[in-house]
């Protein structure tokens, strides 16, 4: 379908009373198709109502144009009828007279009888027959809004504009009206643009959701397509698999906007001290047991000890927040899943390579695959059983949760499934869900299983919602879990800070590995500012010992490993090479023809070695081939051959990944 409404590179500038200017909107570009329902969502003051007013013609853009069917909009007109937030009914006219005023004013050519008929039809349409002769003052809020909608629709507008139409209504009325509006729009093929700040309302009503960033200079931050089939019912929409991902996408966006606002408010310049280029660091982490080294470095003063006096730990609820923070440059360093530096470097984030390096592997192990208790009850105990079960229930969707495409969980889960002959893309759906939400989703039944770091597997088992189907013991004992990641340009600008940071965290890793500290660490991690969970769910025992009664459904466990004499914290080129093959295998990133160069750039072994030497730690290291549970041996010298030998994989591409030459930022 062709473009019906086109918003073309709009800017809106308001002149302030004091003489200054406020740029409300900048470079807004939006095309709306005929019959489409589009929602505008964003925080208060993001200019969504201004945008709506410009489509209505009540306000004109400072730059750019808005067109309706190719005609430039210069003034308001009844073909773009607006339903205002506060109804805007004339209190001195009855319901019928309010609608009639609009009809009479707009359809002057039509005979009186016909106009009467239109008015009556629309009174019936919104079910206000018993109230037709009452003035608006005698109606409830919901009824008033129905009159406003009837008035708008009676004009047969080409475009219906709704400005927070249900904002002032109670939840029950709102729900009913939303369904009515949906039905009316569907029956009459109405094209509509709605301003809202209600996330659920946007998903329910819209075909597309336009998310606006915060002002000043608001722009479109993202557009979501709502693929839920119509006609929609409120209760059924909630069960659609896209619903929660759309919803969480919007909530993430809105939260991110709030954060950006705070970050903008906080002016940050690098504070150099103690011979370090920058001591005020913002380090991102995700609440997991694996964040222990960061928490400990902060709480036990290892950061301060190495000169980093002003470290702030930034708690992100999802890995996506870390990615945005690194991409946006508003966090200095972050705890990352071991595949993330590679994924970012290869352009996994919006197809734009962000060279990211790692100089420290902070944890190993600590992950497990949990399946819903349902499967256990049906006799599914292991991978083979699961495969059989999937074959038996081909008609059902099976959804697995992972935390990020680049995380070890995703890679391991896919590897595990594929090793069992299950195609992770064709036989099941793999969804990205924040770690802390996994247990809730499993409980709600929206996913059937997940692969995630602790404490969530333990918690699912403990609460009797799921069972651990496989742990690191069975997949890859000692695989890299979380690494420290920084941008390459950051590492180049602050080399000494980078070393100090690695030293502080390495020392914290060592502290975490001592069994006598386990209890203290558990207490610290359970606190609100870290994992914020019950302390029982955080287990930090020597990985070789068994933690609790491991009768079914619990099993022997590979606990987090933070440090050992065998230099497990050293960034491993072999492991990164394996990760490259896995990212390419599932089509997340292309396989880089220049993989040797890329791996060399990502693994900052030199920084690690310097840090370890300065701490007086033994950094002896012997290169060993990787061996996973299915017996396949990975040869780091021929990753492409290994990749080709795997039976289940996507059509991957091999491409030269061109990275900018590392530039030393002027300090």
């Amino acid at each position: 379908m062709s473009v019906f409404v086109a918003v073309d590179q709009i800017d809106k500038v308001f002149n302030l009373v004091g003489g200054g200017q406020y740029i409300a909107l900048k470079g807004i570009d939006l095309q709306i198709k005929k019959g489409e329902f589009v929602s505008l969502i964003g925080h208060s003051g993001c200019g969504k109502s201004t945008l709506l007013n410009m489509i209505a013609g009540l306000d004109l853009p400072s730059e750019g144009i808005v067109t309706l069917e190719g005609q430039r909009i210069t003034k308001p007109g009844p073909d773009r009828m607006v339903v205002f937030q506060n109804y805007s009914l004339l209190p001195w006219r009855t319901v019928r007279e309010n609608i009639a005023l609009a009809v009479d004013a707009v359809m002057k050519g039509a005979p009186a009888k016909e106009r009467r008929a239109i008015v009556e039809k629309h009174i019936d349409m919104v079910g206000l027959r018993p109230h037709a002769d009452k003035p608006p003052g005698m109606l409830s809020g919901g009824q008033k809004q129905r009159v406003a909608i009837a008035r708008a629709l009676s004009l047969r507008p080409k475009l219906l504009l709704l400005d927070e139409p249900f904002g002032a209504l109670d939840a029950l009325t709102r729900g009913n009206l939303q369904e009515q509006l949906m039905q009316i729009c569907q029956e009459n093929q109405v094209t509509a643009v709605m301003v809202t700040h209600d996330v659920d309302e946007a998903v329910l009503l819209s075909d597309r959701i336009v998310m606006l960033t915060n002002g000043p200079e608001s722009k479109i931050g993202g557009i979501l397509e709502v693929d839920i089939p119509r006609p929609r019912k409120r209760m059924q929409v909630v069960e659609h698999p896209s619903y929660y991902s759309l919803r969480s996408e919007m909530i993430y966006f809105l939260n991110q906007q709030k954060r950006v606002k705070q970050i903008r408010a906080r002016k940050k310049t690098a504070v150099a001290r103690h011979g370090l280029e920058k001591v005020n660091l913002e380090i991102g982490f995700v609440p997991l047991t694996a964040c222990a080294p960061l928490a400990i470095a902060q709480e036990k003063g290892f950061f301060t000890k190495h000169g980093l006096d002003e470290v702030t730990l930034v708690r992100e609820t999802s890995w996506r927040g870390i990615v945005d923070g690194i991409a946006g440059g508003y966090i200095d360093a972050a705890q990352m899943p071991s595949g993330m530096p590679m994924w970012l470097t290869l352009g996994g984030h919006q197809d734009k390579p962000i060279p990211t390096v790692t100089a420290l592997t902070m944890t190993r192990n600590g992950n497990a695959i949990t399946l819903s208790k349902r499967f256990y009850d049906q006799g599914v105990y292991n991978l083979t059983d699961f495969k059989q079960h999937l074959l038996r229930t081909r008609d059902q969707r099976h959804t697995m949760g992972v935390v990020h495409p680049s995380s070890m969980h995703s890679v391991l889960l896919r590897y595990w499934l594929a090793a069992g002959g299950i195609d992770p893309d064709l036989d099941v759906d793999v969804h990205t869900i924040p770690p802390a939400q996994m247990v809730a989703d499993l409980k709600a039944g929206s996913i059937d299983g997940f692969c995630v770091g602790e404490p969530w597997n333990y918690r699912a088992a403990e609460e009797g919602i799921g069972f651990t189907a496989a742990t690191d013991l069975e997949i890859w004992l000692g695989h890299p879990g979380k690494v420290l990641g920084v941008r390459e340009d950051w590492a180049a600008a602050y080399p000494n800070t980078h070393i100090a940071l690695v030293k502080a965290l390495l020392e914290a890793c060592y502290y975490c590995s001592l069994p006598e500290n386990a209890e203290e660490i558990r207490q610290i991690l359970a606190r609100r500012e870290y994992v914020s969970t019950n302390v029982e769910y955080i287990q930090l025992i020597d990985p070789d010992s068994t933690s609790c009664d491991l009768g079914s459904p619990m099993r022997e466990y590979a606990h987090h490993q933070f440090f050992s004499e065998a230099a497990i914290n050293r960034p491993s080129r072999t492991e990164q090479t394996w990760i490259v093959t896995q990212l390419a295998r599932w089509g997340h990133t292309p396989f880089p023809r220049n993989w040797v160069e890329i791996i060399e750039r990502i693994c900052r072994v030199g920084v690690f070695s310097t840090a370890a030497r300065e701490l007086g730690l033994d950094v002896s290291y012997t290169r060993q081939p990787l061996k996973l549970f299915d017996g396949t041996v990975f040869n780091a010298d021929d990753p492409l051959g290994y990749l080709n030998s795997l039976p289940i994989k996507r059509d991957f591409s091999v491409a030269e990944v061109i990275l900018d030459a590392p530039i030393r930022r002027a300090a």
């Binding site: 209505a56 009540l58 003034k75 308001p76 007109g77 009844p78 773009r80 009828m81 607006v82 205002f84 506060n86 805007s88 004339l90 209190p91 001195w92 006219r93 005023l101 609009a102 004013a105 707009v106 003035p135 608006p136 003052g137 005698m138 004009l155």
Partner: protein, 278 residues
């Protein structure tokens, strides 16, 4: 049913009595207050050297005027009804004119920013001039008692109407204006369907204040302009003839009429305005 009917009748009687009883707390305090006031007044008038008559004296002196309000002996010697009626007539004429001009100018100022800027200072200045100050100038300009009296009432009553109308028009909620813009209402449609109804509460406030002022002004105008029938001049003449009791009686009548006029406007307002706008 039969057992019910007597009981219901009894109930009706009771409800009437109960109604009275219910209203008693409303009526009793003002009645008692008036009684006390009259008593104090009477006491003061009994004190030696009192210049004003007491209430009993007033009634004794003016019982002809009280009981025969409709007499007409020609000239300006007429009953109080006719005096008040003549004054009311003047008020009616001038007030109507004031309303027409006031609302008209008010809308002009309210809709046009230029007019508002140009005329507002002038109006703010004229508005503060007291009614009595207008008397000499109107007499000088019009040279006749009757039109001068009418003018004074007019010039006193117009300001609240004008200013309130202007405010009402300026304060039309932008929602209503947006509706008008989206519907592309013509000027005429806008005027009758949006502007007037939306400004009506303000206009009525102005009209209600104006009626009080007009009644105020008539007394002032008539006192100064001799030889006309009207309650104002009646007072003046009674004073000249040293009939203080008549002055007091006329005063009470003026108060009552003013009160009734105000109540009348309030009642009209309730008839015209929908509940939501009050």
């Amino acid at each position: 049913m039969t057992t019910f009917s007597p009981r219901r009748r009894a109930g009706a009687d009771n409800s009437f009595l109960a109604g009275l009883q219910k209203k008693l707390p409303d009526f009793a305090p003002p009645i008692i207050a008036i009684a006390i006031f009259l008593a104090i007044w009477q006491l003061f008038s009994l004190t030696p050297g009192a210049t004003l008559p007491g209430p009993i004296q007033v009634v004794q002196d003016t019982w002809i005027l009280i009981f025969w309000p409709f007499y007409d002996r020609g000239g300006i010697d007429k009953g109080l009804f006719w005096q008040i009626f003549a004054s009311l007539q003047r008020v009616a004429i001038s007030y109507t004119l004031a309303a027409i001009f006031g609302i008209g100018l008010g809308i002009l100022i309210g809709t046009s920013k230029l007019m508002s800027k140009a005329l507002d200072p002038l109006f703010q200045l004229l508005r503060t001039v007291p009614p009595l100050a207008w008397v000499p100038i109107s007499l000088a300009a019009l040279r006749q008692n009757e039109p001068a009296a009418l003018f004074v009432i007019f010039i006193t009553a117009i300001w609240p109407i004008l200013i309130n109308t202007a405010v009402g028009v300026k304060e039309i909620p932008s929602d209503y204006n947006n509706v008008a813009k989206v519907l592309q209402l013509t000027k005429k449609e806008y005027f009758f369907n949006i502007l007037i109804p939306a400004a009506l509460p303000y206009i009525f406030t102005g009209l209600r204040i104006a009626i009080g002022l007009a009644w105020l002004a008539i007394i002032a105008a008539e006192i100064v302009m001799s030889g006309i029938v009207g309650i104002g001049f009646f007072i003046w003449e009674a004073y000249q003839n040293n009939n203080v009791s008549e002055v007091i009686l006329a005063l009470i009548y003026i108060g009552i009429v003013g009160l009734l006029l105000d109540k009348l406007m309030a009642w009209i307002q309730t008839l015209i305005l929908p509940a939501e706008q009050k």
